[in-house]
C-alpha cells in the first residue's frame, strides 16, 4: 500500500465511519463505504484539503477504487 493509499483510506474511514483496517486499495469505495457519487465528491474535497491540490470534478468519472483515486492524487500532487 502506498503512502497516499494509506492516508486516503484513513480519511475515507474517518468521514464515513468505517473501519480502516477492513479497507484495501483494490476495493470499490462506493461499495466498501456504502456511498453515492455526491458523497464521493465530499471525500474528494477532504482529499484536496489534505494534499493541498485541486482536482476537477469530472476527473472522478470512472474512478471507483481507492487505488485509482490515490493515483489521481499522486498525479496532481
Amino acid at each position: 500500500m502506498t503512502a497516499t493509499e494509506k492516508r486516503l483510506i484513513e480519511l475515507a474511514a474517518e468521514r464515513f465511519s468505517a473501519d480502516a483496517n477492513l479497507l484495501t486499495p483494490g476495493q470499490d469505495f462506493f461499495e466498501a463505504l456504502g456511498i453515492k457519487s455526491i458523497q464521493a465528491l465530499d471525500l474528494l474535497t477532504d482529499l484536496e484539503d489534505e494534499f493541498d491540490i485541486e482536482i476537477p470534478d469530472y476527473e472522478m468519472q470512472g474512478v471507483n477504487t481507492f487505488a485509482a483515486l490515490a493515483a489521481l492524487i499522486d498525479k496532481r500532487a
Binding site: 465530499d42 474535497t45 485541486e54 476537477p56 470534478d57 469530472y58 468519472q61
Partner: protein, 570 residues
C-alpha cells in the same frame, strides 16, 4: 446592448464589446479557496489576440475548424474569441464524454486545431490519434514535467502578430454536435446570423446591466451556456463567473461573494435546489415557518403580473440570501421543465425563465416573457421565429415545426439528414405540442425516437445500440424510446427499451438477459436501457439492411401494449 443588426459576425461583435466595455470586469474564476483569475475586457482581448496569433502560427485559416474541449473556465471563452478572430469555425465539444466519444466527433469534423484542458488531453492521447494528423493541439495548464509530445502549450507566446479576420453573416460560426457519439454524428452548423439574431432577441428580453454577473454552471459547449454565459453577458458588458468545481457546498458561497445575478440550470438541478430549500423550510420552528409562508403569499400576490426583484429580495431576504441575495433570474432549459419547481421559485421571488429549443435552432425557439409568469408552458415564440403545429389531431396536438433566423444551415456533411430535418426552411423538431389561446406553446410529447434526460442529455437509441452488438442468444435487437412506440402525452419519465428477437421458435435466454444487463451497466447511467420486450418476427429492413424503425415500432404498437414492457434490473 450593442446594436447587432449592422454586425457581420461573432468575432466583430465580441471585438466591439471588448473595446466598448474595456474597463469592466469580464471574467472571474473562483476556485475552491481562492480567486484564480479576474480579467477586464481589455485583458481578455489581449489574451484572446494572443490565441489568434498562436492559432495562425499553427496554420489555422478562415473556414478551418477549431475544437474546444474544456470544462467551464475563463480560458474557454478566451480561446473561443481567439479562434473566432482567425475566421475559423468553433466546434465546442463536451468534456464529459468519454475519450473515444470525443475522438469520434473529432474524426468527423477534422479540426485544424484542438484547444484542450490537460486532464482531458491526458486521457485522449492514450487513444490512436492517427486520424487527427492534420490537427494541431494546444494544451492548457500542462505541468512542466510533461514534455507534451505532439502538442503545444496554450500559454506559449506566439512568434507572430495576430491578423483579425471577420466572417460573413451566412458563414458557419460553430458546429455543435446534438448527437452521434455512437451513430451518425449530427453536427449542427450554426451561422453567425443564427447567433447574432438570438443574442439580440434574448438581450432585449432579459437585459443584463454592466454590474450584473452570470454564474456559468452548465457546460459552455451547451447551447444555453454558450449564449447566456458567453455571448449575451459579453455583448452587454456584464461579467461571467466560473468555478471549476460544481460541488454544492461551493456554489452558495461563490454566489454570495460575487453577487451573482443570473444563472442557467437544467431541470434536474432546479429540482435539487428546490428540495434543498424545502428541506430547510421544514426544519424551521413552526412560528418561523408560518411567518415565511405568509411572506411567500405576500410576494406571490405582489408579483402576480410581473417579477419585482427589488421587492421580493426584501420581503424574502433569508431565502434570497441562500443564493447570494442578488439572483434575479434563473434560465432553465435543455430538457422539459416541471412546472412545480419553476412555480416554487417564482413564488419566492426568483423567476425561472423557461425556454424551449433545439441545438438545431440555436438556443431557444420559445421562451416565457414572465409577463405574467407561466410555469405550465414553454412560452411564446421569440421575435422573428415562427412556430406551426403540423398535422394536429382533434385536440390540436401536432408536431412542432419552426422557421426563423436561428434555424441552422444543416448538419455537417449529412445532406440526407438535413433534408429530413429541414423542409422548405421549416425545421421539424420531432416534438409534439399545441398552442393555448394566449399563444403560449405547451409541449405534449415526442414524435421522434429519442429521449431527453432531466439533466438535459439527448439520448438517441441508435447511439447506444453499438454497446449491445453480438448480444448473446439474440438474433436481432433494437433500442427504442418507449414513447416513440407508444406515444404518451408527457415529456418526463422517458425511458429506453430494448426489443429482443431470439432465434425462431426459441425463448429469450437468461444468458441473453445477463449479457444485456452487464453491457447496460457499462454505459453511463443516463444512457441505460431500463426495460425490454421480446419480439418474435424478423425486423423489417431497408435495401441497405437498416432496421425500418418506424415500421417496426408500428408493428409492436399494434401487437402489444406498454404493459408488455419488462423491467430490466440494473
Amino acid at each position: 446592448m450593442l446594436t447587432l443588426d449592422r454586425l457581420q459576425c461573432l468575432g466583430e461583435a465580441l471585438r466591439d464589446a471588448m473595446v466598448t466595455y474595456k474597463s469592466n470586469i469580464a471574467l472571474i474564476e473562483a476556485d475552491r479557496k481562492r480567486e484564480s483569475a479576474r480579467l477586464t475586457y481589455r485583458e481578455v482581448r489581449a489574451e484572446a489576440l494572443r490565441i489568434t496569433a498562436l492559432l495562425q502560427q499553427y496554420q489555422v485559416r478562415p473556414g478551418d475548424r477549431c475544437a474546444i474541449l474544456m470544462s467551464n473556465q475563463s480560458k474557454w471563452l478566451i480561446s473561443a474569441a481567439g479562434a473566432l478572430w482567425t475566421g475559423a469555425t468553433l466546434v465546442p465539444l463536451d468534456y464529459k464524454l468519454t475519450a473515444p466519444e470525443q475522438l469520434a466527433l473529432m474524426l468527423h469534423c477534422q479540426p485544424r486545431a484542438l484547444i484542450i484542458e490537460y486532464p482531458v488531453w491526458r486521457k485522449l492521447r492514450e487513444l490512436d490519434l492517427s486520424g487527427l494528423a492534420q490537427t494541431n493541439i494546444l494544451v492548457t495548464e500542462a505541468p512542466d514535467s510533461d514534455t507534451l509530445p505532439a502538442a503545444v502549450r496554450w500559454e506559449t507566446s506566439p512568434g507572430q502578430a495576430p491578423e483579425e479576420v471577420d466572417g460573413q453573416r451566412d458563414d458557419v460560426a460553430c458546429v455543435v454536435y446534438s448527437s452521434g457519439t455512437g451513430g451518425t454524428p449530427k453536427g449542427c452548423q450554426l451561422t453567425h446570423q443564427n447567433y447574432l439574431a438570438q443574442a439580440q432577441v434574448l438581450g432585449r428580453m432579459y437585459p443584463m446591466a454592466e454590474s450584473d454577473r452570470y454564474f456559468s454552471i452548465l457546460p459552455t459547449n451547451h447551447a444555453i451556456d454558450f449564449m447566456c454565459g458567453f455571448l449575451v453577458p459579453f455583448l452587454m458588458g456584464a461579467a461571467v463567473v466560473h468555478q471549476r468545481t460544481l460541488r454544492p457546498q461551493f456554489l452558495g458561497p461563490t454566489m454570495k461573494k460575487y453577487e451573482v445575478s443570473h444563472m442557467a440550470l437544467v431541470p434536474m438541478l432546479l429540482k435539487t435546489l428546490e428540495s434543498r430549500i424545502r428541506d430547510a423550510l421544514d426544519e424551521l420552528p413552526s412560528a418561523q415557518r408560518q411567518v415565511i409562508d405568509t411572506l411567500i403569499k405576500v410576494n406571490d400576490y405582489a408579483t402576480r403580473r410581473e417579477p419585482n426583484h427589488a421587492l421580493s429580495s426584501r420581503i424574502l431576504k433569508p431565502l434570497h440570501d441562500r443564493f447570494g441575495g442578488r439572483l434575479k433570474y434563473i434560465f432553465c432549459g435543455g430538457a422539459f421543465v416541471d412546472r412545480g419547481p419553476a412555480e416554487f421559485f417564482y413564488r419566492i421571488g426568483i423567476p425561472v425563465a423557461i425556454g424551449y429549443g433545439l441545438t438545431e435552432a440555436g438556443t431557444v425557439l420559445t421562451v416565457n416573457d414572465l409577463k405574467p409568469f407561466r410555469g405550465d408552458t414553454v412560452g411564446k415564440p421569440v421575435q422573428g421565429t415562427q412556430i406551426e403545429i403540423r398535422h394536429p389531431n382533434e385536440e390540436g396536438v401536432g408536431e412542432v415545426w419552426a422557421k426563423g433566423p436561428t434555424v441552422m444551415k444543416g448538419y455537417l456533411d449529412e445532406p440526407e439528414l438535413t433534408n429530413d430535418a429541414i423542409i422548405d426552411g421549416w425545421l421539424r423538431t420531432g416534438d409534439l405540442g399545441q398552442f393555448d389561446p394566449s399563444g403560449h406553446l405547451k409541449l405534449r410529447g415526442r414524435a421522434k425516437n429519442m429521449i431527453v434526460t432531466e439533466g438535459g442529455k439527448n439520448i438517441y437509441p441508435e447511439d447506444i445500440e453499438a454497446a449491445f452488438d453480438g448480444l448473446a442468444g439474440c438474433e436481432e435487437f433494437a433500442v427504442f424510446a418507449a414513447n416513440y412506440i407508444w406515444p404518451a402525452a408527457t415529456m418526463t419519465g422517458e425511458q429506453l427499451t430494448a426489443v429482443l428477437r431470439p432465434a425462431a421458435g426459441e425463448a429469450i435466454t437468461s444468458e441473453c438477459l445477463d449479457d444485456l444487463r452487464i453491457r447496460n451497466g457499462r454505459l453511463a447511467d443516463f444512457k441505460r436501457v431500463t426495460s425490454y420486450i421480446v419480439w418474435s418476427e424478423e425486423f423489417p429492413r431497408t435495401a441497405s439492411l437498416k432496421v425500418k424503425r418506424n415500421v417496426l415500432s408500428r408493428h409492436i404498437a399494434e401487437a402489444m401494449t406498454r404493459d408488455s414492457l419488462k423491467e430490466l434490473a440494473q
